[in-house]
Each structure stands twice: as C-alpha cells, then as structure tokens.
Symmetry: D2
Subunit: 342 residues, 4 copies
C-alpha cells in the first residue's frame, strides 16, 4: 500500500524497532519501575525541564483525555477549537471518560486566539454554567497550521490571567518544532504551557505517547488515574524504550524534518499541475488540496488518502518520517496523469 | 534482575519480537484495518469459533473493564470473587470507567461456585438494588488455582438460567489450557462462556490483549466504546502481529507449559527445604509459600518477588515462558542457603 | 420582592398547594407506589396517549439529562441549539452525569431546523466520531421563541429518517401549548416526538417535573436509572399530587395563558416608552428588551430581573402564572419614570 | 393503609406542611438565594457550628453520593458496612454517579469498628489499588442499631490518624439523638465527623435532606457539583422551609422521640405474644421480629410491612413521628389474634 493518508500508516523507524529488540532480554520490573523507563524520564526532563512529570500512555486520545481529566473537576469546561481532535475525533472520550464539558470555539484555520476565546468563557462563578479551567490548543493544528511561539505565549498569558491552564495536544509536536526551528522546551515550558500530550507514534514510534505536566502544581494523583483509566502498561520498558531511541541523536527532529520537507515538496510539485490547487499554507506535514473528483478516483486505485471534505472535495495528504522523494515524485507523476486524463 | 515476582517481568518471546520486526516495513492502514490485524482475527476465530468477535486492547484491565462495560447498564452489577483482579488490582476502574457495581463474593481459594454466588444475587427486580448481569471468573484465579471445565460449565449453566452472562478474565488462560490439557475452545466457547479477556502479554508478548465476545448476541457498539475508552491503537498491526506469532506453531502452549513446569519444579524443590512450606496446590505458574522472614530478606537481595500477605508472611513466586531450569535451581539453591543461615 | 426575572421566582398556585395539604394525611406506599402517583400516571396518559411511560423527577435538569441518558450510549451525541438549556445552563450535567456528547448547532433564534442540523451530523459509522442519536429541541426556546407544529413535525421526520430520536425540553411546554392553542398531545405524541421533559414547576407547582417516553420502544430500565441518579423521591405522593392538581380543570392552561398574556401586555406597554425597545417577538412569557443602562439601574432598585446580555445590554423579563395586570402596569409606570429621568 | 413498613410511608408533620403554605406567597429568588433558605442555613449552623456549610438536596441517596463524591477522587474508595444503604439500596449510585469504589466490610450488627476496618484498608500507596479516603457510617444503622458517641469518636480518631475522613449517613440522625439524649452537635461536630447526610424526610418532612460539611477544609465546589448532579431545586424555599419548621421548637426531637417510643412500645407488647420473638435490641424506631409465616400472611392483609429476610422470615417494623399508641396497640392486638389462629 502506498499511503498519503496519515503518518499513522507508516511503521516504526528502524532505530526505534532496534530499541525494542535491545530492550527485550532479561527480567525487568513492570509498570514503569524498570531502568529503561526511569532513564527515559530523565531524558525527557532534559528536554522539558527538571520540574516536568512524565507519564507514558499508549494512545494520543489517552494522553489528551487523561491529562485534561487530571486537572479538572467535572464541573469544569475545556475550551478548544471546533476542529480540535478532542472535539471531533475521540468519539466523545473527553466527555464520557474525562467527565469534561468541551466548549468548541469556531475557528477558520484551527487556531484559537484570546479574542476568539473571550466570548466563550461563559458565566464565571455562575452555578448553572460549567466553569472554564483549561484552554486546549493543538500544535500543529488538525488542519495543518502552526501557532507561532508568540501566539502560544499570548494564549498562555490570557489563560493565566484568568486562572486557566493551557494544554497542548502535541501529537505532532516534533513537526511543529522542526518547522519553527525551536526546541520542545522553547515551544512549551518556556512559554508556560501547563501540560502537554507528547506524541511519538506518528513520527517513527509504534505506540508511544506521554502526558507531561510541565507546571509543577498540577497533576498529582495521575499515577492512580492512569492505572484506573486502563493505561498502565505492564511491560512498560517497551513503551519507554521507543521514546528513548526517538529522542536520541535528534531522531525526532530528523524524522519530522523529513516529513515536513516531503509535504513541501509534494505541495510545490503538485501545485504546478493544472487542475490541482493547494489550499492554505503547508506549515508541517499535511497538505490540503483540490483536484477534479474524477482524477481523485483514478489516484485512489493506487494510493491511499482521504477526501477530507466531501462538500468541496478537499483532499488531505500527509507525509511521514518514512516518505521519500521518490514516493512523492511518483505520486505527483501519477497525479499529473490522472488529472490530464480527465 | 532475577525475578520470580511476576510473568510481567519477562520480555517477549523472540518469535514475537521477530513478528514486530517483520510487520514494520511499509505503509499499512491504521486502527485495525491492516492485513495483519484482519488475518489475526481469522486466526483467533479458528481457536474460538467463527461467531467470535475480537477487539484488541493494550492492557488486561482494559480488556476486563471494557468487556464488562459493553454488556452492562450502569444499574447492573458484576459478581466476582473477593480476590478478583477487577476487585482488587484495577484501582477502581470497573466502577469509575465502567460504571459497574462489583459484588465481591468471599472465597477461600479464589473460585466462585453457584452455591457461593446465590446469596449475593440481591433483590432481582427491586429498583433500589443493582441488578446482577454478569458473573466474572478468573481462570486461572489470582491465587493460582484452576476451575475444572465442569466447574466452569456449572457456573455458565447457573448464570444462563438466571439471564446472567459469564465473563472469564483470561489474562493467563494459556496457562490454564496447558494445565488442563485442553484448547481455548474447550475452555470457553464449548462451555458457553459469553465473553473473554484474552491475554498474551504475560505469556510472551509485549503488549497484546483482546476482548472476545463469544456469545454472538452481545458486544455491539464495542468499536465505538474502545475508541472512546482510549484503547484504539493507531498502528494496530504491532498489536495483532504479536498475537499472530503467539498463536503460530503452538507458541502460546509451549510458553505456558514451560511456565507451569517451572512452577512445579520450583515448588517441588523448594518444598523439600526444611523451613519452606508450599501453600496449596500449584496448578499453573504461581507458587505460594512461606519461609522464615529473615531468609526472605536475604533472598530479596538477589531476587525480586513479592511478600503477598504481610500478615502471615506468604510469598508469591511466579514463573514465565522465559524461566529456565537453571534459574529455578539457582533460586532454590540460594533459598536453601538463606534458610539455613537464619 | 417584585420579580420579572424568572417564572421560578413565583410560588405555587393555591390549588397546587391545597393538593399537597390534601395528600398529607395517613400512610401511603413510598417511591411512587401510592394511589396518588398511580392515578396521576393515568391522568398524564389521557393527555399524552396510553403508550406513554411517565417518571417523576424533581428538577428540569434531571428530566433532560436522565431522559437523554436513557436513550443513548456514551458514544452517542445529542444535537441541540447552542443556546439550549442542556448546553449552557446545566453545568455540564449531560456530559458528566449523562455521559453524553452535546453537539451545539449555531442558531439565531434558538430554533433548530433540518437545514441547520445537517452539517453537524458528523461522520456516521466512523469509529472516531460520536454517533448522533437524539435531536433535542426546547419548546418554547430559551430565547422565548416558538416552533410551529409543522416545524416540530419536520424535525421529527428528519430525525426518524436518519434513525435519530427527538427529545423536547418542555420545561415551559404549557406556555407553548397556550400560545399555539393546541393540546399537549398535539404538540408531542401527534408529531412523533419520542421523549419529553415535562415541566410543572415554573407554571404553578413547587417542584414537579417528569420524563415522558412517548415512543413505546425506548426508555426501558429507566426506573433503575432514576433511582441510581438520586431522583427517586420516597414520599412521591407530594410530587405527583402537584401534577394532578396542575392538570385538573385546565389549571395548567389558565396559568400559562395568564403568563403569556402578561408578557404581551408588558411588551406592548413597555414598547411604547421612548427609549425602550422590545427585541424580537413575544411568543410566550419571556420579553427581551433594551433600555438605557442608567434606567436599568434605577429599575433594579425595586425590581428583580436579569441583564441577559451584558454586551448589548439586553434585558430579559419573564412573567408567570402569578403575574397580575397591576404588577405589569406598575412595572411599566416605574420603567417610564426611570427612562425619563435618565 | 396502615403501615409499619417504613417511616417513609408517613406524611408530613402539620407544622411542616404549614411552613410550606406560609412560604408560598409572593416572589422570591430561586436556587437558594431566597430569605427562607438563607435563614435556614443560619439555623442549621446553630445546631452544627458556624463552620458548617449546608447544601439542600431532595433525596437521601443524593446526600450520600454527592457528599462522598465531593471529597473523593475516582481512584479513592469509601469503606462502609456490608449492609450500608450506600452499598445495598442505592442501585449502584455511588459507583455510577459518584465514581466511587465501595469497600464493604462484613458486620454482624451493621456497625463498623476500627478493628473490623483495618484489614480492608488495602494497599496504601499501591497504584493498582483504590486508595481509601472515607469511612462511612450510618447512625442509626440500617439494622436499627446505634453507635455510642464513644464508638463514633473512636472511628473518627482511627480515620484521622490515617488521613481518612468520616461520613455519617444521618437519614435518621434525629432518632439517634433522641435515643442517646444528645444534640446534633454532640453526635457530629463535637466528635470530628467530617461530613453528614442530614435527613428530614423520614421524620416529618416531605422531601428535605442536606449535605453538611462540618470539616471546613472539605467540600469546595459543591454548589457546582449539586447543580451538575441535577439536585439544585429552583424553588428552594420549599425545601428549606420544611427544615426550618422541622428544627423549630424541637419538632425534630419530639417527632423522633415519638417514633422511638412507639417502637419500644411495639417491641415490648409484641414480644409478649407467644410465637413472636423480637430480635436484637430496639435502639430507635426499627423493630426486627419473627413470627409464624402463616401469621404474617394474615397480618399483611390489613397492614403493610416487609419480610426483611426471607431465609429466616425476619420481619421489619418501623414506626414514625405519626405512629400513635392506638395504632401500635391495635397492631399488636391483631398480631395476637393472627398468631393464635395459626
């Protein structure tokens, strides 16, 4: 299968797979008390600050929902973009398993701003209204756009002025850091982001996500919550070993940079095909485009990708750490033929 | 580390690890729509019957809680042994994330019987009382004992006569089948067990569990529930590939047979040491024993295992697929020296 | 206190209070098995059809949340207006206690339409998306507008064509029926509304609401759910007795008609004051208006009412069964003086 | 109907009903901001101390579940007697709506002791185990027995030494105070009980319960929780007015004393009938007894009461504020005839 559908369609980077093989021999303590997990915690603290508390989970949905649940009462609400993954792609998990009310704020490009949020804060102190507690942003957003560091800082400032926390859904944070040429620290701790869903799976791991409490005043009790939420893996070494390899020798950065570069290459080349239009900017590893539906049909015979919006026939193409120039070029060539044949 | 603490302390069988490596190259569909997962479903149906519906999850707690949640209303209760994993070792997950009331029934050896259950059914049809819906048994039990096939059949009969379902927590079902010399089918579908938590992790996988609805009339909607419960892994091929290797060439049986044999060897040899007493029978891969606490102290310097009950200083030793005769013999030898020195 | 803030500020109609006094003597069965409750069920069936199943609760929030919960799985969503009481005034109860994801649809006048709903149905059959199950409408709406019977019928048709249910939040259904000159049956069962939150409290009771399942195929298990949801009142006769009096001799209609008439009187008279503007139509017993904020300040010294929207200084005035022509006229007179003095 | 089944079968004391009538005229603020509710808060503080925070709810189940939920995380457990109302008669509400794991401790007479509790505290600090947070006692117990003040104090001491809280289910606390000749304060605040479910309904109100946080460090956020839990009554004056009358002129004490006296009278007189055996002591207003089943059949034709335990044919008779000497004597006389005729 040749996929431009999602970075989830790629496998693991060989170095990550090798880390699994290397972690395998012998007995180790379970549930995160093993040496690999303990060391990986230390590695992550080098990236996010020594105050960070790190908890591994197996899915991005778990990272989002449990992080948010850990810092909210059920009478709190979480403000998010209307296209936020937590709002549209987690099958109601924040509500049902987090006990959280989401307040979706309409956005044009997936990005929240203080100005857009303000009217949605609701009646503070009014017993009939859910009380806002967290602003959740996704970086990069679900529609492929990026917050600048200044925009994140402004949201954090806005939030903290109102006693709110800021959560970042960083399922693809590596792609954002690569695109903005900054470190994980620059993008989170330095800007006073309070908690982070840190994703490794999409960028070269097999199943490795983490909740990071960057604000040292939040998140107590999380180990119990994680266990209760069915996310405490027994052979934890196999989760943390992935992240350790992922963070070694800038693998995360190389992988993300490749994915981003391949998306740019795809956008540039495909955008030159008459009949193909690239929509918006290509900030990371997602490309949104339109082409004649008949051409899409032809292309889908050989490739796997999504018609993102059936109303206006917007397509989404994603690249990953594993995408090569050859794959892009072949895809573009086939695209050209498909469009021309229609 | 040398562990007799838990089968969770062992790594993956090499064949399982190789399956991960083999599953890695290339793009595949995510969320279980890949060829490996689809094929693994078929393999599992060969073991459990074509009517079985199979859903992979990442932890045993998830398998138990989500399986039970899928077949209950929140006003239902689940009857279980007082030492059931769901009652004592899931940090309240069945209640908090499953919305389930557990009714723990006192047992001496971890095993439920119709006679023991009957007084705990509560007021059927009485609006103030949770209505029983499921009897949950663990095979082998948390204290290392085994239900005979006849005992399971009797519980199923008792349950179905009262419109109840039977759930089996089979985190170690392979050890039970090896011990009773029967197939998975013989132990579940053939006896009318309705749903099963099928475990691979403890017996040679890295993280691979499944909910199996054997009764075709239950479990609809589970795919949504699994996603909502944060258990839908994106790169699912890496979960199912483990199980595929695990089920190939009777690997599950060889692994479980070895674990069971090593436990028997340990019990037989350790039981001959004056001062060491083996408690109960050793039906699978758990051994319960007592020895002078001072000897335990010495042994814990080199080995890792649990003082199971601090009140009477009962120890639990577990063996796994990876335990060897040499490891057992060395452990016994060290034990002999430790006891003698006290 | 002189209130135009809410119909919740009025007491009970004397006939309702008398019913409580009359219901008091002697012993009766508890939890709804008393003669009064059983008879009230029969009375309500005369209004809503013999297929209706009736369950009393103590708050409108309970009626909404438990009715919706009874017909949904946690992976279902409920589509509602963005200003729906369930979305803005129940402190997240549908999410936290109902396990429900709400999908708020933007509306201008609080009214949903098939056309407005359609884009919010989401990805049917897509495991990552909450699956819509109910369309919830409020009649009259939270902003005082009314659905015509035809509009309700259209929504029911749209819903049923897609295997969705229709819930009506009828906290003020009496006002709607009075305004549209139709019966409860005409507005609900006849249009194929599936379930109703029936309110008595605001229109002359002290605390008396009910969940009515009009569709005979839904709502099984509700008695257990109500008990579990802390809403099964022991001395139920005192809830049902209110409704019995409320439904006798058209008291509900007289009360609602008075409230509606007083709102019209207020709107007509206040609207003639220069500087006071009535916003929108006055369909039932709510009046939205603007006046100079300084005049509001003066008026609030003597009267109790809400500044509904602080941004544009919209005021909400509500009338009730207990509002008299004299109260309205005095309020208007004081309003005239206040505005003139500014 | 002549009921010795439950104190829930009686109506309201006339003074309570009159308070409702008196509270009715005119407009008042809703949701507890009315003068009656505010004053009732003050009255309750006179009884329980000025630090007490009081929140009215409509059912005893709501008082129990919401009080407990307010002081627990979902990974906490609540230790209670195996016959506790929260364990057996709330249809799983603590689990499903409170997110709480209950740990039922076997008792012979419904009373917990530090010695009985100790083995059930579980693995403190062990991430796989629910962490105990509250010990919940019922005073008087569900089987009619009473804790002495010293016994309560001992439990509080035991609890606080372990950083646990003590909750008292005081659905019938008035009966306990009357029996032990002490004040509400003596039985709760003075002994360091942390939170109380205070019941009025069974002892002369129609529907009036309250959650009282006596420990000033707990219970923040409860107003939001109550609203979210569907328990914030709009016309709150009608709940608080009941309690105000109930607490005036020692009505609560007179009512409870009568109920207790009538139970003693019943036990003494019935106990003298050959064939009737009173079981245990009659500490408050519950009497447990046995008689020939055939006599029970005859008696049930005229009276309403429960066969409490079908296994040994134990009957439960309850008296209330409304029970008179004549009613008791007639019941006993009919009982004598019934037994003699068998």
């Amino acid at each position: 299968m040749r996929s431009f559908a999602s970075d989830n369609n790629s496998g693991a980077h060989p170095a990550v797979m090798q880390a699994l093989v290397d972690a395998n021999p012998g007995d180790m303590k379970a549930y995160g008390d093993d040496e690999i997990s303990i060391h990986t915690d230390e590695v992550l603290k080098e990236y996010f600050g020594s105050q960070a508390r790190i908890h591994y989970v197996t899915t991005g949905t778990a990272a989002n929902v449990l992080g948010l649940r850990a810092v909210t009462h059920t009478y709190n609400s979480v403000i998010c973009s209307d296209v936020a993954h937590i709002n549209t792609d987690e099958c109601g998990a924040p509500e049902a398993f987090g006990g959280i009310k989401l307040v979706p704020v309409p956005t044009e490009n997936g990005k929240l701003t203080p100005r857009a949020i303000a009217p949605y804060l609701g009646h503070i102190g009014f017993v009939h209204a859910s009380q806002p507690k967290v602003i959740s942003i996704t970086q990069p957003t679900e529609v492929g756009t990026l917050y600048s560091l200044k925009e994140i800082e402004d949201i954090c400032q806005f939030a903290h002025d109102r006693d709110l926390l800021v959560h970042m859904d960083g399922a693809r944070i590596a792609n954002a850091c690569a695109a903005l040429d900054c470190s994980f620290f620059d993008m989170t701790t330095a800007l006073d982001v309070d908690l982070l869903s840190f994703g490794g799976t999409k960028n070269g791991c097999i199943m490795s996500e983490a909740v990071l409490f960057l604000n040292p005043d939040i998140g107590s009790g999380f180990p119990y919550l994680r266990k209760q939420a069915m996310q405490l893996v027994s052979k934890m070494r196999f989760v943390s070993a992935q992240l350790q390899a992922y963070l070694k020798d800038d693998l995360w950065l190389k992988n993300a940079s490749n994915a981003n570069a391949m998306a740019r290459r795809l956008a540039e080349k495909a955008g030159q095909i008459p009949g193909v239009t690239i929509k918006g900017s290509v900030d990371c590893n997602a490309v949104f485009a339109t082409m004649p539906p008949a051409a899409t049909e032809i292309l889908l015979e050989k490739y796997y990708f999504y018609v993102w919006d059936e109303h206006d026939h917007t397509l989404r193409w994603m690249t990953s750490w594993a995408t090569t120039e050859e794959m892009v070029d072949e895809f573009v060539e086939d695209m050209r033929k498909a469009v021309e044949s229609c």
